[in-house]
């Protein structure tokens, strides 16, 4: 399977091995740790517990406690020491259990890791990965459900990825570990048990490449992470009545692959940007602005955004479901674009 030809799990060929998102990330970690002794893991409960979402299960047993390091609860220290280790030769993968906890790490990510290479005139670099998961799905409340990716796309010096499938997750994690810059690797708690095509040891997805998850001529939906699956489900439904939706999965949020986005938007002339994060200042605003700047006059309708309202997410699954765009909302947004 080529890097740009991955498809969503449901359409997998019957001959392909099936694997969960969680297992696919674990495969990437194991393979990179086997191939490169500089790769180490550190974070809260990554070792004996196997990771809060069981991603690193078994890695302590396989690689030992020198390379799989259970740390005290000290998020800034975890990312900061990963940075220090990276500067002197390691390729650390740090885990922050919830995106919400990354607020505790802002100095280390924003002022330190992102600045290090350019600030020191290229003398130092920070080949490190910070794995984190975000999003709704568990009624986990306002401090365990946020989607904060836009903050990091706003910080030059960081690369940020948010894969939607097991294959992309594995390929992007490998690329992230091998990259010489700090990479924020954003997982989604609803994706861990989702299955898709398994990919081999040499599957690497280049950072900075968006992916066409479904071709279509009528409307482009630009999205990422778990919302890719909402968009694909909506597209299936719309196809019944003959509306062909093209789904562009950004995969990398910084740097944006606007070439792929613009090529699709130019073809369809109608654009919906869809994300789980709240609307104001979300990454969708940046995508919409760039599409507007580049394609003014070529679009058949104004670019539209569909996102969560600007609200602190309640710890209540029913309210959570009502606040996050679902298949129905995407269908309605696409239909309204077609009418305009």
């Amino acid at each position: 399977m080529s890097a740009t030809g991955t498809t969503a799990g449901s359409g997998a060929a019957t001959s392909a091995r099936s694997i969960t998102y969680r297992e696919s990330i674990r495969e990437a970690l194991i393979e990179e740790m086997e191939d490169d002794p500089r790769v180490i893991l550190l974070g809260e409960d990554v070792g004996r517990y196997g990771g809060a979402y069981a991603v690193s299960k078994g890695l302590l047993e396989q690689f030992g406690d020198r390379r799989v390091i259970d740390t005290p609860m000290a998020e800034a220290m975890i990312v900061g020491t990963a940075l220090g280790a990276a500067v002197v030769g390691a390729r650390p993968v740090a885990e922050i259990m919830y995106m919400d906890f990354i607020t505790l790490v802002m100095d280390q990510l924003v002022n330190q890791a992102a600045k290090l290479h350019v600030m020191f005139g290229g003398q130092l670099s920070a080949p490190m990965v910070v794995r984190v998961q975000q999003g709704t799905g568990r009624g986990a409340g306002p401090q365990h459900s946020q989607s904060l990716e836009a903050w990091f796309a706003h910080v030059p010096g960081l690369k940020t990825v948010a894969p939607s499938t097991p294959a992309d997750a594995k390929g992007l994690l490998k690329a992230a570990i091998r990259d010489d810059d700090p990479v924020l690797f954003i997982e989604h708690k609803q994706l861990y048990s989702r299955k898709g095509d398994a990919v081999g040891r040499d599957h690497v997805v280049p950072i900075g490449s968006a992916d066409l998850k479904r071709p279509g001529r009528d409307v482009t939906v630009v999205t990422w992470s778990n919302m890719v699956h909402t968009a694909l489900a909506a597209a299936e439904r719309l196809a019944i009545d003959g509306t062909e939706v093209e789904v562009v999965d950004l995969r990398t949020l910084a740097p944006l692959d606007m070439e792929t986005v613009l090529t699709s938007c130019r073809r369809t002339g109608r654009v919906l940007v869809l994300h789980e994060a709240c609307r104001t200042g979300g990454l969708g605003a940046e995508v919409a602005a760039q599409v507007g700047e580049e394609l003014y006059g070529q679009l058949r309708a104004p670019v539209r955004r569909l996102a969560a309202p600007d609200i602190a997410l309640p710890a209540n699954s029913a309210l959570e479901r009502a606040l996050i765009p679902d298949e129905d909302a995407v269908v309605a947004a696409v239909e309204s674009l077609l009418r305009s």
Binding site: P37, R38, I40, R66, R67, I69, T71, P72, A74, A76, M77, V79, G80, T81, A82, L83, G84, A85, A86, V87, V88, G89, A90, P92, D107, Q108, N111, Q112, L116, H117, V118, M119, F120, G121, G122, Q123, L124, S125, A126, P127, P156, G157, K159, D179, D180, D181, P206, I207, G208, P255, L256, D257, M258, E259
Partner: protein, 346 residues
């Protein structure tokens, strides 16, 4: 000519390992380094007043030289140093090239960071200087992480982090000292206590002034040392570095010192007691070392005069070389954003 080899620090840090230079030649060497840092910072302040620097942001360490020099002298070539916004002295003591400092402050390509980092972000990878940092305490995990990798990969490197009394009240300090203790990492935490977190006196930052007592709470070695006595700092650092290198874990080394000037050029230090200031200035580390040299009969006036002249010449040459270097450019700075640039990055 002086017996002090001024080029030594250009060639690399001391290879003397953990032997305390109790001999007068050792004292002369440390004195020479302190004097060089003092004169370099005085020159930097002159350049600032003459509007020859690329930024007005400049924090000098005049009065604190013994800490930088005493600690760095205890290190070997494969050890690491991480430093603060007041880091000119750490950079020079670790062996950073003088022209790299001056050119950096002038915003030139020959600067340590090619004119992009400025006074608060010096670096010298060749000598294991992992950068000085403008977020108080933000660099402590960088040194801790370097020590972590040394421990994991089995390298004998020791990591030293300089930070101020202000950083010791930041949460990241606690997080890192605790982790280093738990993992028994080869790191020396050097709390360079210049008595003021910008304007807040140490007595208002903490009710436990002893660093050694603080260390005991983490279950690690701790020591309080006179930061104006370069030989005392050298001895304490030697013990701490040796402990780390043997695998016996981190040390919290508190060095009591004083910032002779304001926090920055904009600060007249109105919050400081003038009598206290005067008392500290009586304990100028450069003057104390010079007096000790005289007592030991280690250097006569002619030798010390020659040393001053050699430093002045070295500074003249560094300023000239820096000014001859091309200014940093926007294009180069943008091109230098990423170690692995990706097409389409904007």
């Amino acid at each position: 000519m002086s017996t002090v080899d001024l080029q030594r620090s250009e060639d690399g840090p001391s290879q003397s390992g953990t032997t305390v230079p109790s001999d007068s030649a050792g004292l002369l060497r440390l004195f020479g380094q302190m004097l060089r840092i003092r004169r370099a910072e005085e020159r930097v302040l002159e350049l600032l007043l003459e509007n020859r620097l690329s930024s007005t942001m400049c924090h000098v360490s005049i009065g604190q030289e013994a800490v930088a020099v005493g600690v760095c002298d205890a290190l070997g070539p494969d050890d690491y140093v991480s430093s603060t916004h007041r880091g000119h002295g750490h950079y020079l003591a670790r062996g950073g090239p003088l022209v790299g400092l001056i050119a950096e402050l002038m915003g030139r390509e020959a600067g340590a960071c090619r004119g992009r980092g400025g006074s608060m972000h010096l670096v010298d990878a060749a000598h294991g200087h992992l950068g000085s940092n403008a977020i108080v305490g933000g660099h402590i995990p960088i040194a801790t992480g370097a020590a972590l990798w040394a421990a994991v990969s089995g390298q004998p490197s020791v990591s030293v982090v300089f930070f101020g009394d202000g950083a010791s009240t930041e949460g990241i300090f606690h997080e890192c000292v605790n982790f280093a203790a738990v993992q028994s990492l080869p790191v020396v935490f050097v709390l360079e206590n210049n008595q003021f977190a910008m304007s807040l006196p140490w007595s208002r930052s903490t009710i436990e002034p002893s660093i050694a007592v603080k260390a005991s709470a983490y279950g690690i070695a701790g020591v309080d040392v006179d930061g104006q006595d370069v030989m005392a700092v050298r001895a304490a650092a030697g013990v701490a570095v040796e402990r780390a290198r043997r695998g016996d874990g981190p040390t919290l080394l508190g060095a009591a010192t004083y910032r002779f000037l304001g926090h920055s050029r904009a600060d007249p230090s109105a919050y400081r007691d003038k009598i206290e200031e005067e008392r500290w200035k009586q304990r100028d580390p450069v003057v104390l070392a010079r007096r000790a040299l005289a007592v030991a009969g280690a250097a006569d006036e002619a030798e010390l005069e020659a040393l001053e002249t050699a430093i002045a010449r070295e500074l003249d040459a560094a300023v000239a070389e820096a000014e001859a270097s091309p200014p940093a450019t926007v294009d180069e700075a943008i091109a230098g954003m990423y170690a692995t640039p990706i097409g389409g990055m904007r």
